[in-house]
């Protein structure tokens, strides 16, 4: 099998600019919000790719572009080798049998006037599948059962369900057509803590059973670590680092990734409070007017002159992480920021293992690029 066949999705130089206009009648474009600005990554079959970043980094826009709920400004999205970036309406309908999405807010993503049965059967109606109503109903009830809803609630309305159950309805609708790719945009951030784990476990279970490929978008780094095989970190419309979860969380190379990890409060008084951490100062700059060269240089603790002059390329640093940084974090800096044993298996040896792996496993890692 050739390398490209392992990739379900290949995204190249994807951009999405939202125009900023002035004037009401004679509109004139005076600028653009560069929500996604030249993003390239691939999603392998059967894996879970996480995309993390702060508000406004472009992660949700990336998700919507992947599902083609939005038209990209430029770039290509290869889905099973076919470019879907330019796909027209008819092609999109076919695409949406293969690519589905779970939305963030289970309250606004379900039509309050339709019964759950109708909502979950909607994909069948759109695609003209399972025309017999008895057949369709049977399939919908199977789906409800699969996501942990009581099939007898077929005729109930969304308001009769709790947040977690509504998110299950959203998941059932998304898997109805047995898509190959499921894009989940912050699927648990609107849910109560005790419910989040239920939905996360459901997604993981479904992925195993159905062989789904999952793109999982979240701002919660612990959730992403739990769910994902590989993680891409976005900052101001660009990917700054992409690596296997274990590598990224135990040995982040980009200073931004390091700062994000250091900022996560850890639910254990020994893990959190006593950690020395360098806080990022300031806010994320506006994506309408991002800093030139390296976009992180205005907040970066390691920034030097070069960072404001030349844009770092996303390239292999060390052997296992791909980072866009001129001066990636060193091992001792990571240890200072995150503390020994952080992000690993709880054992102090975890980072060392990754590092040892790095020196010996350069051959296996080259395939991940």
């Amino acid at each position: 099998m050739s390398a490209s066949n392992d990739n379900l999705v290949e995204v190249k130089e994807l951009t999405k600019h939202f125009p900023i206009t002035r004037g009401i009648v004679f509109q004139k474009q005076i600028g653009a919000v560069k929500a996604v600005d030249g993003v390239s990554f691939e999603v392998k079959r059967g894996e879970t790719l996480g995309i993390v970043g702060e508000t406004g980094c472009g992660k949700s826009t990336t998700a919507r572009l992947l599902v083609r709920l939005m038209d990209p400004t430029s770039g290509t999205i290869l889905f099973e080798g076919q470019d879907i970036a330019e796909a027209k309406k008819g092609d999109l309908k076919a695409l949406h049998r293969e690519v589905q999405m779970v939305f963030q807010d289970p309250y606004s993503s379900l039509n309050p006037r339709k019964t759950v049965g109708t909502i979950i059967a909607e994909p069948f109606a759109i695609h003209g599948l399972l025309k017999g109503s008895g057949e369709r109903r049977k399939r919908v009830q199977e789906l409800m059962d699969r996501v942990g809803l009581n099939p007898e609630h077929y005729n109930r309305y969304p308001h009769e369900f709790s947040g977690g159950q509504r998110q299950r309805i959203g998941v059932a609708r998304a898997i109805a057509l047995e898509p190959k790719l499921l894009v989940a945009d912050e699927p648990v951030s609107a849910l109560d803590v005790s419910i989040q784990a239920q939905v996360l476990n459901l997604l993981r279970g479904l992925q195993r059973e159905l062989g789904l490929t999952l793109v999982f978008i979240a701002h919660d780094l612990s959730v992403v670590r739990h769910m994902c095989d590989r993680v891409a970190v976005m900052y101001l419309g660009k990917i700054v680092e992409i690596a296997d979860s274990d590598v990224l969380y135990s040995f982040p190379r980009h200073p931004y990734t390091g700062a994000l990890l250091a900022a996560v409060p850890v639910a254990s008084p020994t893990g959190g409070r006593r950690r020395q951490r360098a806080l990022l100062t300031g806010d994320v700059p506006s994506p309408a007017n991002p800093p030139r060269a390296c976009r992180f240089h205005t907040r970066c603790p390691k920034a030097q002159e070069l960072c404001s002059e030349e844009e770092p390329l996303l390239e292999l640093k060390g052997t296992r992480s791909i980072t866009a940084c001129h001066f990636p974090l060193t091992e001792s800096e990571v240890r200072d920021q995150l503390g020994a044993g952080f992000g690993g298996a709880g054992a102090n040896g975890s980072r060392a293992e990754v590092l040892v792996d790095q020196s010996s496993a350069s051959s296996s890692s080259s395939s991940s690029t």
């Binding site: 702060e54 239920q198 739990h226 969380y249 996560v264 850890v266 893990g271 409070r273 806080l279």
Partner: protein, 368 residues
């Protein structure tokens, strides 16, 4: 022993609605000492916000029924008339709300909103109030405060708005600061900044803080003591370290085991709490947590547990009917990666030896 600044005694808040009486807060007691930070943790609908809003008299609406006492420096806030309470609110006790965007008035400049509290409570002129506003913005780390004071809320980012909210709350140097989900709407990096700011301000100004959150990570970072609330009650209260090292209540275990953590092994399965939070109108009989508790025994459905000290640990209290020794064994098991399904036999065996070999029954995942 230091002196209690605030003492909540058997506070009950009920609201009568069309559907019935909502028991939002049902007999909670705790105290906050001068300069300490207490965390109140719970899910939405656990009564954590209502309990603190009541402190400021913000739940005194029609249909609300408030019982119990809230002693602040010896005065009972529940019994205090509105006019007296107004002198305390924003002055001795201040509050930071969750959503900084909707808590700031969009039409007024930040400076005007900041000085409102100062002008209300102190006899100062406008110029002095403005100087105070600039000083406050500087205190919370907003760069270029003398220019920013004349800007509108929409000109500030989320994190900066939350800093403005904090500045507003600090305007009269309160003795007690109530922070209701102060970082929930913020990104992690900004959240870390705000938590560090609160910590720093506390050590400089010596105020007590009540922080209300659903995020155990947040409370682990900055609190001295934690109260876990469920269905309007405190089910466990302990010093922060003890909540994480030796939690006693099955709900607390559930919370700790259902969130993925950066310092736990990656492949570890999450153990969700089954079911969902109960309705506060028709609450479950007996222990309110019993429909979701994997360690439920028959009598737990009838007996209502009281918050009692854990034997051998004075500062730690829990409302659970399981014997203390059994709770310790279960938590040790959970720590070693066992699940509630495999540990349930500990509970069932002792209670009903006949059914010891029956398959352990875990409550259904999907409730009615």
């Amino acid at each position: 022993m230091s002196e209690a600044l605030l003492q909540v005694e058997d506070l009950k808040v009920r609201f009568s609605t069309e559907d019935g009486i909502v028991h939002a807060v049902d007999g909670i007691s705790y105290s906050v000492e001068i300069g300490k930070t207490i965390g109140i943790v719970g899910e939405s609908g656990s009564g954590k916000s209502v309990s603190s809003l009541t402190m400021l008299g913000l739940t005194r609406t029609q249909g609300a029924d408030i019982e119990g006492r809230i002693l602040f420096e010896g005065r009972d806030l529940v019994a205090l008339p509105d006019s007296e309470l107004r002198k305390i609110r924003g002055n001795d006790i201040a509050m930071i709300f969750q959503d900084p965007l909707s808590s700031l008035h969009p039409f007024y400049k930040v400076g005007a909103q900041l000085t409102e509290a100062v002008l209300t409570h102190r006899n100062v002129g406008k110029a002095a109030a403005r100087a105070r506003a600039v000083e406050l913005l500087e205190l919370v780390g907003i760069p270029d405060p003398s220019r920013r004071v004349d800007q509108f809320p929409h000109e500030f980012s989320g994190g900066m708005r939350q800093r403005v909210m904090i500045a507003m709350a600090l305007a009269n140097e309160p003795r007690l600061l109530i922070a209701d989900e102060p970082t929930t709407a913020l990104d992690v990096t900004v959240q870390a900044q705000i938590l560090a700011l609160l910590n720093d301000l506390q050590s400089r100004l010596g105020m007590a803080i009540i922080i209300i959150t659903h995020d155990l990570g947040v409370v682990a970072e900055i609190t001295d003591e934690i109260a876990v609330m469920y269905a309007g009650r405190i089910v466990e209260r302990a010093p922060t370290d003890a909540i994480f090292s030796a939690p006693q209540h099955p709900y607390t275990w559930g919370l700790l085991k259902s969130i993925p953590r950066l310092d736990s092994p990656r492949g570890e399965e999450l153990v969700p709490i089954s079911g969902r939070p109960p309705s506060l109108i028709k609450r479950p009989s007996g222990c309110h947590f019993h429909p979701r508790c994997p360690y439920v025994r028959d009598e737990h459905r009838k007996i209502d547990p009281k918050l009692e000290p854990v034997p051998g640990d004075e500062g730690h209290s829990v409302a659970c009917l399981l014997p203390a020794e059994l709770r310790t064994r279960i938590w040790r098991g959970l720590e070693q990666g066992e699940t509630s399904a495999t540990l349930r036999h500990l509970v069932v065996e002792e209670a009903q030896p006949v059914r010891a070999h029956a398959t352990p029954r875990v409550p259904e995942d999907v409730p009615e």
